[in-house]
């Protein structure tokens, strides 16, 4: 594990998201109502919708293009839709967001 400090938790709006650019593509960072942070691939497997623009509810996000809903823990699409987005280890320490860069360094890792 190689934890990198990428910003303050308040840089992400509550129940919102921000994106970071990585070698494996854009990664979305979500902040839920109780201040948990999740990191997943920003790309919806359906039609490539940018998930960081979706509505964050509970521990899920809804894709802005066609309302696919993903569980942020597992990356699994919910309901009738089938698909999965990659998830990445991230944690919050003293209000700072730390992401594990090992999985983000090489395209092959995705």
């Amino acid at each position: 594990m190689s934890w990198l400090d990428i910003g303050d938790i308040n840089d992400i709006p509550l129940r919102g998201a921000r994106v970071i650019k990585t070698k494996v593509g854009c990664v979305a960072l979500f902040r839920t109502a109780p201040d948990e942070v999740f990191a997943t691939s920003d790309r919806c497997p359906h039609k490539g919708g940018p998930l960081n623009h979706g509505i964050v509810h509970g521990q899920s996000v809804t894709c802005p293009l066609h309302n696919w809903v993903f569980d942020l823990n597992t990356g699994q699409a919910q309901g009738a839709d089938e698909g999965r987005i990659a998830t990445y280890p991230v944690r919050v320490e003293d209000g700072r967001i730390l992401i594990d860069t090992t999985k983000l360094a090489h395209r092959s890792a995705a």
Partner: protein
């Protein structure tokens, strides 16, 4: 006899001395330093002292007799300036004392937010008796107090000051009160209780400065708001007081690091209480401090002992508000929630379950079962068997397997079902036996569920229990899976119960999810902002991306940008600015829309604030082409140019658009004004369409030209431009206040009937004026350019948070 020096006479070190003198009264000769000019008292009881329920004398733990009897040398009111570990002496302001063993109990220091004015007289923290006395004295003159910090301490201070007659406002940086101990729903109930006591609560309020010449006079918020304040209490948090330990070269992390024996990095120096850090943890509640004290006393006497942090529960009483929290109640993978809400009694309970074990509980209003739940958490009891009734507490356990209806079936006949109308179960059962076999008939015969409607589900269950298979549960038209209520129900309840926040809706209407979903949350956000424009603050995170980013998302994730052209009119300068922007931001597609606007398609999300700023600079504002709000007013050129024109259709179109722009509506709204019945602006298929004639203006509403095509219906004929504008505005407001989210006007009018609309907008002039007044009130908040705001203050949110592609690969 060995020499023990203790720095700090607090509750933890006091408990150490009690153990020590009890077990080995002659083991140590003790010198006790305290910067405060008094001995150990019960700090937890400062709140009752502040509120006047207790006096200082009543909360003293160790008085002079106790210290004398145990031969403690008290050096109260004297600060310690240093510790010389090499010579084993503590250096006080009035001289040195040698030690064999040293105990540091310096406690914690209030965190003072670094804003201008923080050092003014009248700005105090809330930690000790001096602070409390300062507050009591300040409150004797009355006036206003601002408490910064909505945690336990801040709320205790606020409640005490309010009880002493001050006008109190609590500022809290986070979205809800006591966010560490409570989830949002419980925080909402707490806020409601406090507001009921006259305390003003402002959440997401960030303090910019404390204003005043010689003393605090006001608090300035980031939002620009100024609150008068004769007294400012800072209660934003505490941090371990470690300065002495640091200077003495002891190992200090966030607190003074100790072993399980409470030993610091120097074996002859112990530390106890809020100043220590053990295993990465800090301690603020009294129970673990007392555990630590026992260990310290044992260690000083050469006995075995080890401090083990325990699972903690908090049962808090913020002067009369009952709340309880224990364990871990964050949402998480594999965790499930059981939520119980009783809006009428202000009760909320939430249990968090993982692997068939209870791991967390939050309760508000009724905490009687708190200890039982806490026991289940501590013991890791398997709760699978009792899961269905777990939330009802211990008295429900051990019976037969629960049928969801059995609770209703088991209710006695005199149990109240409808709180608004005082209808008990027996009355409903008699009505059913008398032939009222559906909800409507029950409402008509008994009034049950006819007022606020929150008991509808219960009434239906009584019907089901009484009628058995003869009762068909009505097909649900619920908004989504988060609630059984329909859009119409929710709108009505938001108005009648005066629900003014999302948390209020979730709690009072018994939502089954913590904060809704992508279906219900945008609807609720709209209903709240439409009904309470001044009280409710629009929540961007509850809007679809287009309304959050003020641009239309395209299928490739880029956006389209449409500047407003009032009434479809533009100028060469505006066109040049649009062309320049299209060049500068490499806009791949420029399109003219059906609503007479220019659409720049394919703009990158990161470029949005910049392109907006450029268009703003040329005098243009957002066209809201993305909004469930006013889109466009399309016009023909009218009598200024056209030989058939009867009126100034472009002029009226511009006036209408300037009046209506920026307003949010249940769905998009498009207008048009045609200068003659030839109708070149296609006004007869718009949500509101005006056709000019010689004698005035024909106002049509409820047209459609999308999936459905429908001609407008005639609302009224207006003699003057002003009357046309008034009718359009009043119609808009009636639609805003009553329609279901995502119903265009034609769908809404079909439901309520055009006559119902005419009665209010056309016939009743008072109602028309009231609708216009409410629309204008809302527009004072919303008629402004979102582009300018976003470009100025939020542009960094449009950029990636970080770019790791530039980092060297490791």
């Amino acid at each position: 006899m060995q020499k023990l020096v203790v720095i700090g006479a607090g509750m933890a070190s006091g408990r150490v001395l009690e153990h020590l003198f009890e077990q080995a009264p002659d083991a140590y000769e003790v010198t006790l330093f305290n910067a405060e000019a008094r001995g150990n008292y019960n700090r937890i009881m400062l709140s009752p002292v502040l509120s006047g329920e207790k006096s200082y004398a009543e909360i003293v733990t160790h008085d002079d007799d106790w210290y004398n009897g145990n031969k403690v040398t008290c050096r109260f009111g004297e600060s310690v300036v240093g510790i010389d570990r090499a010579r084993k002496v503590v250096i006080g302001e009035n001289g040195e004392v040698a030690y064999d063993k040293l105990l540091i109990g310096t406690g914690s220091a209030p965190f003072i937010i670094p804003v201008p004015g923080k050092d003014l007289p009248g700005v105090i923290s809330y930690r000790d008796l001096d602070d409390t006395n300062a507050m009591i004295e300040a409150s004797s003159k009355g006036g206003s107090a601002v408490v910064i910090g909505g945690g336990l301490l801040g709320l205790e201070a606020a409640a005490g000051l309010a009880q002493r007659g001050m006008d109190v406002t609590v500022l809290h940086l986070m979205g809800h009160l006591m966010e560490r101990q409570l989830d949002e729903a419980a925080g909402y109930l707490l806020r409601k209780d406090l507001e009921g006591r006259g305390i003003t609560v402002k959440t997401q309020a960030s303090t910019k400065a404390i204003l005043g010449e010689d003393k605090a006079e006001a608090v300035l918020l980031d939002s620009g708001e100024t609150l008068p304040a004769d007294l400012v209490v800072m209660a934003v948090g505490i941090r371990p007081e470690t300065r002495l330990a640091n200077d003495a070269g002891l190992t200090v992390g966030r607190g003074i690091e100790v072993s399980a024996q409470m030993q610091t990095s120097d074996p002859d120096v112990y530390a106890v209480g809020e100043c220590v850090e053990f295993d990465g943890q800090l301690f603020g509640l009294v129970a673990p401090l007392y555990d630590q004290a026992k260990v310290v006393a044992a260690a000083l006497l050469g006995e075995d002992g080890a401090f083990v942090p325990k699972e903690l529960s908090t049962k808090l009483k913020v002067t009369g508000c009952d709340l309880f929290s224990a364990g871990d109640f964050a949402e998480g993978e594999g965790r499930e929630d059981i939520v119980f809400r009783d809006p009428a009694r202000g009760v909320y309970k939430r249990l968090v379950i993982e692997d068939n074990r209870l791991i967390g509980a939050v309760m508000y209003g009724d905490t009687a079962d708190g200890n039982w739940f806490f026991g289940l958490i501590k013991d890791g009891t398997d709760i699978e068997e009792m899961r269905d009734t777990l939330i009802f507490g211990p008295s429900y356990q051990g019976g037969a397997a629960a049928d969801p209806l059995s609770a209703v079936a088991a209710l006695p006949l005199d149990a109240e079902i409808c709180g608004c109308n005082g209808i008990c179960k027996g009355t409903i059962v008699s009505a059913i036996e008398g032939g009222a076999t559906d909800l409507g008939a029950i409402k008509a015969t008994t009034k049950a569920s006819a007022s606020c409607g929150t008991c509808t589900g219960l009434v239906e269950q009584v019907l089901q229990v009484t009628l058995g298979d003869d009762f068909q549960m009505p097909a649900s038209q619920a908004i989504c899976g988060c609630t059984d209520l329909s859009h119409e129900d929710v709108r009505r309840l938001i108005k009648s119960q005066e629900l003014k926040s999302q948390a209020a809706v979730w709690q009072e209407l018994g939502w089954s999810t913590p904060n809704g979903c992508h279906v219900c949350r945008p609807a609720v956000n709209y209903y709240l902002l439409a009904d309470w424009p001044l009280e409710y603050q629009d929540d961007p995170q509850s809007r679809f991306i287009n309304e959050r980013k003020h641009a239309n998302i395209q299928k490739d994730g880029t956006f389209s940008v449409v500047p407003r052209m009032f009434g479809g009119m533009t100028t060469p300068d505006e066109l040049r600015a649009i062309a320049d922007a299209a060049d500068k931001y490499k806009v791949p597609t420029v399109h003219v829309t059906g609503g007479q606007r220019i659409d720049l398609l394919g703009v990158k999300g990161e470029d949005l604030p910049a392109i907006w700023a450029d268009l703003n600079a040329a005098g243009m504002v957002s066209g809201h082409a993305y909004a469930k709000g006013l889109r466009t007013v399309k016009t023909c050129v009218g009598k200024d140019h056209c030989r058939f024109g009867t009126q100034d259709s472009t002029g009226l179109g511009i006036q209408l658009e300037k009046k209506l722009w920026g307003s949010w509506t249940p769905h998009k709204v498009k207008l048009a004004v045609s200068g003659c019945p030839r109708n070149c602006a296609e006004a007869t298929c718009k949500d509101i369409g005006v056709v000019c004639v010689d004698s005035g203006y024909q106002i049509g509403v409820a047209g459609a030209a999308g999936m459905d095509v429908k001609e407008t219906e005639r609302l009224a004929e207006a003699r003057t431009e002003q009357e046309a504008i008034d009718l359009a505005t009043a119609f808009m407001q009636l639609y805003r206040e009553n329609a279901k989210y995502l119903d265009r006007p034609y769908k809404w009018v079909a439901k309520v009937g055009l006559d119902w609309v005419k009665e209010r907008v056309v016939d009743d002039l008072e109602e028309r004026a009231a609708l216009i007044a409410r629309f204008e009130l809302s527009q004072t908040i919303y008629r402004k350019d979102p582009w300018a705001e976003e470009a100025e203050s939020k542009s960094e949110q449009y950029q990636p948070l970080a770019d790791l592609t530039l980092e060297a690969a490791e």
